[in-house]
């Protein structure tokens, strides 16, 4: 397999770190070299956060650069737009259609851009619009948005479903395994026809 680069973007506190850890574990169990670069500290306080996951034969830089990402997993619409220039032309862009206003918008100093997903669709072919917040609510825990998104992404890889489930079981706390697997399945089933 050629190297795969996955960019995970969102707002600090949305669970991007857990997502990257699950993804890292999946790559490791698939026998690939993998590097995951995370953001800690100040940005985790509601700022724009990005996590890089790179897997393949041999990975050097842990960073993904502009026009390099094969997949962008976006936990929030505005963050999708902010990082879209990191996508390859034929990248898969998976967007949770949730809106979280940043402080400049909240206080009226800036406008939240309109029609973000439409704009991205006009420029990139493989865009999946996911109502992840609703699905997380359906799973029973609103905090599982991240795992719903992993479920969607799992459909666009060749990696076996069991490998994903095992990684989730290994990564989340025991008392949250059940709800997270439910969330994963919701995302996985939602995306069944998205990548054909």
């Amino acid at each position: 397999m050629s190297n795969k680069s996955v960019l995970i973007v969102g707002v600090g506190g949305q669970g991007t770190l857990l997502t990257s850890r699950i993804l890292g574990d999946v790559a490791l169990s698939s026998g690939l070299d993998v590097k995951v670069s995370e953001v800690h500290g100040m940005s985790q306080r509601g700022g724009s956060v990005v996590t890089y996951v790179k897997m393949g034969e041999k990975i050097y830089s842990p960073i993904i650069e502009k026009n390099e990402a094969d997949i962008i997993l976006c936990f929030e619409k505005l963050e999708a737009l902010r990082w879209i220039d990191y996508a390859k032309k034929d990248a898969t862009i998976i967007i949770n259609n949730q809106r979280i206003d940043p402080m400049p918008v909240i206080i009226g100093k800036a406008k939240y851009p309109e029609n973000i997903i439409e704009k991205i669709k006009a420029n990139y072919k493989k865009v999946v619009d996911v109502p992840a917040l609703d699905m997380a609510k359906k799973s029973g825990n609103i905090k599982t948005v991240n795992v719903v998104m992993i479920g969607v992404m799992a459909q666009c890889t060749e990696i076996d479903k069991d490998v994903w489930i095992k990684a989730i079981e290994k990564t989340v706390k025991p008392q949250f395994v059940e709800v997270n697997i439910k969330a994963f399945n919701l995302g996985y089933d939602f995306a069944r026809d998205c990548f054909i």
């Binding site: 306080r45 830089s61 505005l78």
Partner: protein, 581 residues
């Protein structure tokens, strides 16, 4: 067994495998997880120290006592620990002593971008620099061997991208390291002038031997490829360079101080064009230029910020990436904010309302500087809020202290605020210090500290009583108040700022992210009652959103902390009922 580990976790694993038994640190991004991970190994004694200076002193003591010992800190922490460092360089070690220092190029979570190699050179302490998680573990073990063989503390220099990137690590067994005997040796460990003069000779002899070692060690390796281009590099910059240049020749330095001059000359003589790729200061580059080598480095690359493969491609190879879209014209920034439910929000709301000059400090509450709270006037370093407020008064007179407060977190106060407060007491300052006591070290991710009542393993520990501590150093006016009692808190601040004597206000309320903190139902704005006066917007809460024609509360963001109803004069903010989870 193979495991995916953060650089910091791999460091901790290396410490474990090397048989170390003492670890002590003060938290600081991006170094914190080193000590947090070490704390999970029961074979190693671990602790949070009040600050980096104490931590290094404890590690020095453990080393003199014959143990392999470590301390970890961020780059600015090394400034605090510089005093013991420079003299531990003279005393040398008994058991191996390794100091992990994590630089933060790009300042993801720091107040400056200093380069640890320069301090290390000043202290004449060798520096080892890994470039990924695997090297983090392997180089840590080598660092102990270097420390003991050459009788020196060793700095392992990290950077944000090495510390916070995960890579694959092969786990090995723990070495059975036997405690070395402790032998009284004043000529080595009592650094008064007569002894220190002799020890300085030992330091210089050691540096000469380390220069020889640097030529031979496997930490420094040549990877031959196309010899048209040669790249000398180290740390994370090596990974970027590999990606940018591809199959050219590399001299990858794992020991960056002292540098292997012969190896560098040999490498340089065999390549056509020589590049030096290093983040921050031209440390390797200046040495190469001093040796008379013709190199390209900082003449094309910046000394500011992080590097990337793309940056190297652009600046050195002149390759830029195409722009694939034009839809990013108006993307508003998303700066970090105080969390919904944060106790500091109330504090800064009041301080702004009273139009006070606020001398700030390091922690989550530094975010009180951003809009719309825009309350903080200065932030310099850990503990500086108090000294700066004192200086403001001494420069501008007593009147200034009646419109100034210093704000400092509980952990930061213990770290280095207490000495500033003693200065205020001793030198007759009439200022006001607000200790933001949120019962935890917040920004670095919830570490215990001497005021929380728990140790690094979460076991009950002696708790420093902040009220008694302030009283004991001579502060007569000490008030404790919950900032969420907005009216009372405002009254207390007004009173203490106006007072002619020095006062301390302890603003006590737990961090909203702590597990034991439970809020009520989330809130909603009753649009019939709302007059759109936008008083609630002044709180800068990420859950309260201005939609132009109306203001609303985002239910997925609201913590239910109940602060906003207190600023609404029309009782328009109501409980929305059931929580979503």
């Amino acid at each position: 067994m193979k495991k995916l580990m953060l650089g910091n976790e791999a460091i901790a694993r290396g410490v474990y495998e090397a048989g170390a038994t003492v670890a002590t640190a003060y938290p600081g991004t991006p170094s914190t997880e080193i000590t947090e991970t070490i704390a999970k190994y029961d074979e190693i004694y671990s602790e949070w120290a009040p600050n980096e200076k104490v931590a290094l002193e404890v590690a020095i003591g453990a080393s003199i006592g014959g143990a392999r010992a470590v301390t970890a800190m961020k780059h600015v922490g090394l400034n605090v620990a510089a005093d013991p460092l420079f003299t531990a360089s003279y005393t040398g070690v008994n058991g191996g002593l390794v100091i992990f220092v994590a630089d933060d190029p790009g300042m993801h979570s720091s107040q400056n971008e200093q380069d640890t190699r320069i301090i290390a050179r000043g202290a004449k302490v060798p520096v080892i620099e890994p470039s990924d998680s695997r090297e983090c573990k392997d180089y840590t073990k080598e660092a102990f061997r270097v420390s003991e063989e050459f009788d020196t503390p060793v700095i392992v220099r990290l950077s944000t991208r090495v510390s916070h990137s995960q890579g694959i690590v092969e786990l090995e067994d723990r070495e059975n390291y036997e405690l070395k005997p402790y032998v009284k040796n004043p000529a080595k460990y009592v650094m008064m002038p007569a002894m220190a003069r002799r020890r300085h000779f030992s330091v210089e002899e050691r540096m000469a031997k380390l220069r020889e070692y640097s030529e031979e060690t496997l930490l420094n390796r040549i990877e031959w490829g196309d010899k048209k281009i040669g790249v000398i590099t180290s740390g994370i910059a090596y990974q970027y360079a590999r990606e940018a240049f591809g199959d050219v020749s590399y001299l990858k330095l794992g020991m960056v101080y002292p540098l292997p001059e012969k190896l560098i000359k040999e490498f340089a003589s065999k390549v056509e064009t020589l590049y030096i790729i290093e983040e921050l200061e031209p440390f390797i580059e200046n040495q190469c230029r001093k040796m008379g080598l013709k190199v390209t480095g900082k003449d094309k690359l910046p000394v500011i910020g992080e590097y990337s493969a793309g940056l190297i491609r652009e600046k050195i190879l002149g390759v830029t990436s195409d722009k694939l879209n034009d839809i990013q014209d108006e993307v508003p920034a998303r700066p970090p904010v105080l969390c919904a439910g944060c106790p500091h929000r109330a504090t800064f709301y009041v301080l702004k309302k009273l139009k006070l000059t606020v001398s700030g400090d390091i922690g989550c509450y530094t975010l009180g500087a951003l809009a719309p709270l825009e309350s903080v006037d200065t932030t310099i370093c850990m503990g500086a809020s108090i000294g700066v407020a004192h200086g403001l008064e001494k420069a501008r007179g007593k009147e200034q202290s009646k419109k100034t407060v210093a704000v400092i977190g509980d952990s930061t106060f213990i770290h280095s605020g207490i000495t500033g407060l003693i200065d205020m007491v001793y030198n007759n300052c009439s200022g006001t210090v607000i200790i933001l006591d949120n019962s935890i070290t917040g920004m670095t991710g919830h570490q215990h500290n001497p005021t929380t009542g728990y140790n690094i393993k979460g076991e009950p520990a002696k708790q420093v009583d902040l009220v008694k501590l302030c009283q004991a150093v001579g502060v007569e006016r000490v008030k404790v108040c919950d900032p969420f009692n907005l009216k009372e808190f405002e009254h207390v601040v007004k009173e203490e700022v106006a007072a002619d004597e020095l006062s301390v206000i302890i603003a006590q309320r737990s961090c909203a992210l702590l597990k034991h903190v439970k809020f009520g139902p989330i809130l909603t704005i009753n649009q019939d009652k709302c007059t759109k006066c936008r008083m609630c917007m002044r709180l800068g809460c990420p859950a309260i959103v201005d939609r132009g024609d109306h203001v609303e509360i985002n239910p997925t963001q609201c913590a239910g902390c109940d602060l906003c109803p207190k600023v609404c004069r029309f009782n328009a903010i109501e409980k929305a009922g059931g929580r979503d989870e």
